[in-house]
Symmetry: C2
Subunit: 344 residues, 2 copies
DNA sequence: TTGTAGGCGTTATCAC
DNA sequence: GTGATAACGCCTACAA
């Protein structure tokens, strides 16, 4: 019987609560809850009275209390390497849109490509009782895996096709993409193909693209030359410097494949400045198909990733699991596409 | 006295809770809580026993329960127009890093440049009892303002200097930036200056940049010609099409100022394709100073926004308010910088 | 330095 | 269609 009398050990928040609304509407608190969550289980007349009471009090439901009681937060936690980076944000944007439609919100953390930071974020997000988790890539710490296994919530690993998925995955094969692009270059007559990747440490996507590059060389009977490979931060400036170093080190290079369009653009723009003709003197291929790729001159040959589809797929995957469906297959390969343009 | 005996109306979650840890460690639940939150208030020996118990049980604190009890979620809600868009994500990334260091996490929602969607997100995030709120721009619905005023939580409006701030703001004057860049062009001899903006509806930043452009023209005694202004989605392709239309419509145009580097790059790259010499035939200036701006040829003259500083400033502002400090000034102007390069 | 008592605001459960 | 009751798991307030 809690009437307006403030209880003695009160830690009152001042806001209107279900009880206040219920009292004014002349119903029990649970009925207010039902009117908001499952309106069709409540009589129209009752609902109307409740609605008025809600407006009168300026009541805003406390989802924290609701979460504690229902043991569901309607929160999806997403851990990405960095918020800079168009692929991750594009996927997130799409996923967020789908999830919003189902009442979920996004808790976002960036790991800075560190699996230890990722682990810390996983622990934190589990403590917040996120209903599901989105991870980038397939490389995770042992404790991350243990925590997630123990938590038993839906997990989707994105932009990769894990050998040993934690739960589900939506992505494409980076190895295969690296292989295909390199093979394409070889098929088009390039013989001395260099590879620029962003830092591969703790970045399995880049590591796999590089592996694909090596496999293609190998299968074509080309020798793998470490001097033809460079690793650098994802930065136009770095790409430019590495290009100049590469040309000096390996004057015979006739093609450059970059694990990211950012690096490819850096190289392309530097060639333009240096008067190096692309693709005649040096062919260039990228990865990601950024908007700008088709607008530079020469337009950049690259690998297109279905980012929107991945975001959508990841959302659907998690939603299915959250509704208790057993999804199959648990690993969805959305593929990629070689986009031939003028730069190679 | 809750021992392992499952209570009768049980809605047990199966996980270990403070009580389990406390029982094993031979202390009261509150001591476990203290050991985690304020370790220095607990004796070392006690802490060690608790630590062991935590490891034995695999205990993960339930922050939802904690939030309900303490009435603080340690959650900052950020509403941005879109996750695509380098400025917003750069600011967020920086802010997120600072806030993490203080135990806060980020709840992210994108409004798609709609103040109604923004309003819905504000309501949702208030229901989740976010401790503070980050908004982009200064244009909000009446209900948004009412909700926030009523909620009384710290709010920071970013990338703008609001006339009527909700609470605090960190940004720069878009009007002034538009004015300065236009004036700079005028000072450098350009007479017929066009302006491309992204969609201005519900985007006060773009609206203000345009206003600054008009003020500069006016002060210089130039006539404002609506045919010299175009509004378009933020897309390279659109910029390109609008450039061609502009050149046809107004052959005398000698400079183009774009409210976004994306648009400026589209125009610049199209000029390159069309053989239009930049800046001789047409000068081009942008806004944002994207990484790529200084790498294209000719390098893009643009306005640099201190994104990192804004992210940092917004975080500090919110933290100060969360710690109950009364901040002053409540509006922080971090300025901008005209970056002259070769394109104008 | 540690403990007791009870509330935070909602929803699950079961009853009518 | 509606309600009584208790529980979700922690933390505040106060006491020792």
């Amino acid at each position: 019987m809690s009437f307006a009398t403030t209880p003695k050990g009160s830690r009152h928040t001042g806001r209107a609560g279900v009880r206040d609304v219920a009292r004014i509407a002349g119903v029990a608190p649970i009925t207010v809850s039902r009117a908001l969550r499952t309106p069709n289980l409540v009589a129209k007349a009752t609902r109307d009275r409740i609605q008025l009471a809600i407006e009168a009090t300026g009541y805003i439901p406390n989802l924290v209390a609701g979460s504690l009681s229902s043991n569901r937060t309607q929160l999806i936690a997403a851990i990405i390497p960095t918020l800079r980076g168009s692929m991750a944000t594009q996927i997130l944007e799409e996923m967020s849109a789908v999830l919003h439609g189902h009442g979920y919100h996004l808790l976002v953390g960036s790991s800075g490509f560190s699996i230890h930071e990722e682990e810390a974020l996983v622990a934190a997000f589990l403590a917040r009782r996120a209903d599901a988790l989105y991870l980038t890539g397939q490389t995770h710490s042992t404790r991350t895996r243990k925590l997630l296994k123990h938590a038993g919530i839906p997990v989707v690993e994105v932009a990769t096709l894990p050998r040993r998925p934690i739960d589900t995955a939506v992505g494409f094969s980076n190895e295969s993409a690296g292989y295909k692009m390199t093979s394409w270059l070889i098929a088009h007559g390039y013989r001395r193909i260099a590879f620029f990747s962003t830092e591969t440490k703790h970045n399995d996507r880049q590591t796999e693209r590089l592996a694909g590059y090596r496999r293609a060389l190998h299968e074509a009977g080309h020798r793998y030359n470490p001097a033809m490979v460079a690793e650098m931060p994802i930065d136009l400036e770095c790409s430019k410097e590495n290009l100049l170093a590469l040309l000096q080190r390996e004057p015979g290079v006739d093609a450059l494949f970059c694990g990211s369009d950012v690096l490819a653009l850096g190289a392309l723009l530097e060639c333009e400045r240096q008067g190096i003709r692309v693709p005649d003197q040096l062919a260039i291929a990228g990865f990601d198909d950024l908007d700008i790729a088709k607008h530079v001159t020469p337009a950049l040959t690259t690998v297109r990733i279905p980012s929107r589809e991945i975001g959508h797929g990841a959302a659907e995957m998690l939603l299915a699991r959250l509704m208790g469906r057993r999804v199959s297959p648990r690993i969805v390969d959305l593929g990629f596409e070689i986009v031939p343009r003028q730069s190679a």
